[in-house]
């Protein structure tokens, strides 16, 4: 069902509008509230019951994944239709029905690298939010150097046997399944890695949440002890996992630089200029009284503006078919700096009001700003450190050489 012209597209728009009007519950048309986000899965929680109705209806229609093939439960829409659907959802301020690493990262990779049976088995449950996935990548000894991973995966004839440890596994304690990089050949580095899937309820899997400096625990240390995995759960060819991994890192990096950061903005927090005006005060012409702080806030706000113009420029140029180079690393680096600068300025402008941890005596927005300031420190580490991004830019974009 591919519309080829504007008229047909308008037809689709009306159809989508009508369907959304009929199926999107009114409470799903209000701004998202942190604790009503739906992650799906076997143990899905729905604080607002409407969010279950909304997920089920969208999942059924395949519109949680509008462009994925109908064959695997997706929406089967063209790129143009998907954009129209997005516009129509934005028009009524519909919430996203599902947050999911399956939708954002694993699904696209499986559609590209998996076989037909695997797609049939796993994709529909991602679309419907029935299975919650987590990503088993980093290891204690392999952070920036991901390919240095050591989790062993041995061929035991009728199954694989997995032993090792992952770290920074997002929500591993809440996920149903894991997509995981494992070592299937120790004699070589990148060419000895495979990509495998297994159930987190398998015997021998243990996920321990890591407490972060912000007080949250979104990540786990995940231990695998003699975990048996059926052989049909290997994706792609044996020792061919690194190609899938690289592709997935691209999905991750661009979803992060597109604003998917933890610690970005957030409701209830004002800007550093607002806090500075309030807490530092203004002079007789309405300027922030501390000229030095004011200059740094202005500098930051210019950086933010320049960043958003850059995203816009790259989008326009890409649409116009112009080469835009390795933009993900650039945006990832700049986004991390921007978000961290923002939160440092917030804390500085807030003064002692920004030094609270919890409880009474502090403004709620300020408490949130403090936690997000701590959270933002991860922006230059997760999904490729800023140092790695600079290396990538220097070598791949600028063509600077390695030591010989």
């Amino acid at each position: 069902m591919a519309y080829d012209n504007a008229e047909q597209l308008e037809g689709f728009r009306l159809e989508a509008r009508k369907w959304l009007e009929a199926n999107c519950p009114p409470s799903m048309r209000t701004p998202m509230v942190d604790d009503e986000v739906v992650w799906g899965g076997r143990n899905a929680t729905f604080k607002n019951p409407d969010s279950k109705v909304w997920l089920d209806r969208m999942g059924e229609k395949g519109w949680t994944a509008p462009e994925w093939p109908k064959e695997y439960g997706g929406g089967g829409l063209s790129r143009s239709e998907a954009r129209v659907l997005e516009q129509e959802m934005r028009r009524i301020k519909a919430r996203p029905p599902l947050f999911s690493f399956g939708l954002w990262m694993f699904g696209p990779a499986l559609l590209e690298f998996g076989n037909h049976e695997q797609k049939l088995r796993f994709i529909p449950d991602i679309v419907k939010g029935k299975t919650r996935w987590c990503q088993g990548y980093s290891e204690p000894g392999a952070g920036s150097d991901l390919a240095g991973l050591q989790t062993r995966c041995e061929d035991k004839g009728d199954h694989y046997l997995i032993n090792g440890q992952k770290v920074w596994t997002s929500y591993a304690d809440k996920a149903d399944w894991i997509f995981c990089l494992v070592r299937t050949d120790t004699s070589t580095k990148h060419e000895g890695i495979s990509f495998i899937l297994f159930d987190m309820k398998s015997p021998g899997v243990e996920a321990r949440p890591i407490q972060l400096i912000s007080g949250e625990s979104p990540f786990c240390e995940t231990f695998f002890t003699d975990v048996k995995v059926p052989k049909d759960q290997l994706v792609g060819r044996l020792n061919g996992g690194w190609d899938i991994a690289k592709r997935l890192l691209q999905f991750e990096r661009s979803s992060i630089s597109a604003g998917g950061f933890g610690g970005t903005g957030g409701s209830g927090i004002l800007g550093p200029d607002d806090y500075a005006k309030h807490h530092v005060g203004t002079d007789e012409t309405g300027r922030v009284a501390d000229g030095d702080l004011r200059g740094r806030i202005a500098d930051h706000k210019m950086y933010v503006k320049a960043f958003s113009l850059t995203v816009q420029r790259q989008t326009e140029q890409a649409k116009a078919g112009q080469a835009v180079g390795h933009t993900a690393s650039i945006l990832k680096y700049a986004a991390a700096k921007m978000n961290q600068d923002r939160h440092e300025l917030l804390i500085e402008a807030l003064g002692t009001e920004g030094l609270g941890w919890s409880g009474e005596g502090f403004d709620k927005g300020a408490l949130k700003a403090t936690r997000q300031w701590l959270r933002s420190k991860g922006n230059s580490i997760e999904g490729g450190t800023s140092e790695i991004n600079l290396n990538v830019i220097a070598k791949r974009v600028l063509g600077l050489k390695e030591h010989q």
Partner: protein, 378 residues
């Protein structure tokens, strides 16, 4: 907003880039300097006229399309790449804009075609101190029977040492610092009472202090209504800042390019200096800044052409960021070239010298940060 050039603009960009590369190289500037030209280059002016570069924002007939400020920005970026000294910013941008915004039909009829043809060049005589402060004008224009009498001192006026005409910002009301009370006047450079004190400047482009002593101009020398010159001046200065930012982007890009080339060729300790990670990270950060500044300049050019309400904000954004960029890149260009970078025979020093002039004209980064903050209400 469009960041994508039209086909016409793209062709203009290519022409301008090739022209700057082939005929206005840094060596051309070096030769002019050594010959004592101090930025005066009639042959280049002639060529620019032949290429039609003076008229890119002037419609052939009323209402006709032009290349727009975006088109002119491409030319200025190209001349920034090679640090070329041309009358384009003062004449093709500033004077053309001022006359289009404020000129009477008679003034437009007389001057716009002369600008487009490269017959007449202009210089905007504004600053009276060493720092950009557009309303700090004490130069007086007093009404007399037939017109006005001008008295005052204008400092560091770019192109005034070779332009044919001056656009003088003078005060017809109020006091230095007031926005109200400014008026713009067209004054021939050779008018009686005008003294041009040529300045030898660090960038070899030259400039002049201009003294006006009982300079008599007729009534019709006034551009736009008396006392309300700031309504013309403000948008002109925003566009001047944007055009200069485009030039600065070109300079920064070129300084970065020659640095990158050096990093990939020069060896120390048996290794290319560009293979040292500390150098790589510094280069990568500069590249990110370059990309982000390019977006700001593009957005500001497009906003000016679309007549958007945020031109002032984007002008300050572009000029401030371009200022910081060209400052950083020109310093790194010298440093990464090591001793070679300190020699007059190499190009890095030329980029550094021109950068400080670019930074100072039409508002420093500090000035524009302040204005950006004011426009954003803090």
């Amino acid at each position: 907003m469009s960041f994508v050039l039209t086909e016409d603009q793209e062709m203009l960009r290519e022409t301008a880039t090739a022209f700057a590369r082939d005929e206005l190289s840094v060596n051309h500037l070096r030769a002019l300097r050594d010959a004592g030209a101090n930025g005066k280059d009639p042959r280049t002016r002639q060529k620019l006229a032949e290429l039609g570069f003076f008229g890119v924002i002037i419609p052939d007939e009323p209402g006709a399309e032009t290349f727009g400020l975006t088109g002119l920005g491409q030319i200025l970026e190209a001349q920034g790449r090679t640090l070329a000294a041309t009358p384009l910013l003062q004449t093709a941008l500033i004077a053309a804009t001022a006359l289009q915004l404020g000129g009477s039909p008679a003034q437009q009829a007389e001057w716009l075609s002369k600008i487009a043809g490269g017959e007449t060049t202009f210089a905007l005589a504004l600053d009276e101190s060493a720092h950009f402060a557009p309303y700090s004008v004490a130069t007086e224009a007093e009404r007399n029977g037939q017109g006005y009498t001008l008295n005052g001192l204008k400092k560091y006026v770019p192109d005034a040492h070779h332009a044919d005409m001056l656009i003088v910002v003078a005060r017809t009301f109020g006091e230095s610092g007031d926005r109200h009370g400014l008026s713009l006047f067209l004054v021939p450079r050779d008018a009686k009472g005008v003294t041009i004190a040529e300045l030898k400047t660090v960038d070899s482009h030259g400039a002049a202090h201009v003294t006006l002593e009982n300079v008599m101009v007729p009534e019709d020398a006034l551009v736009g209504p008396a006392d309300q010159g700031a309504d013309i001046l403000d948008p002109v200065l925003d566009r001047a800042a944007i055009g200069l930012a485009a030039e600065m982007l070109g300079s920064a890009q070129a300084a970065f390019d020659i640095t990158l080339e050096y990093l990939n060729n020069r060896k120390q300790f048996g290794q290319l200096i560009g293979s040292f990670q500390a150098m790589q990270h510094r280069a990568a950060k500069m590249f990110i800044d370059l990309e982000m500044t390019r977006s700001c300049v593009g957005a500001a050019l497009a906003a000016a052409d679309a007549g958007k309400s945020d031109v002032a904000e984007l002008a300050s954004l572009a000029k401030a960021r371009a200022g910081e960029l060209v400052h950083l890149v020109s310093n790194e260009c010298v440093q990464m070239h090591g001793g070679i970078g300190m020699t007059d025979a190499a190009d890095p020093g030329f980029y550094m010298k021109r950068a400080r002039v670019q930074e100072a004209l039409y508002g420093s980064a500090s000035w524009h940060r302040d204005r950006y903050a004011r426009l954003n209400g803090f």
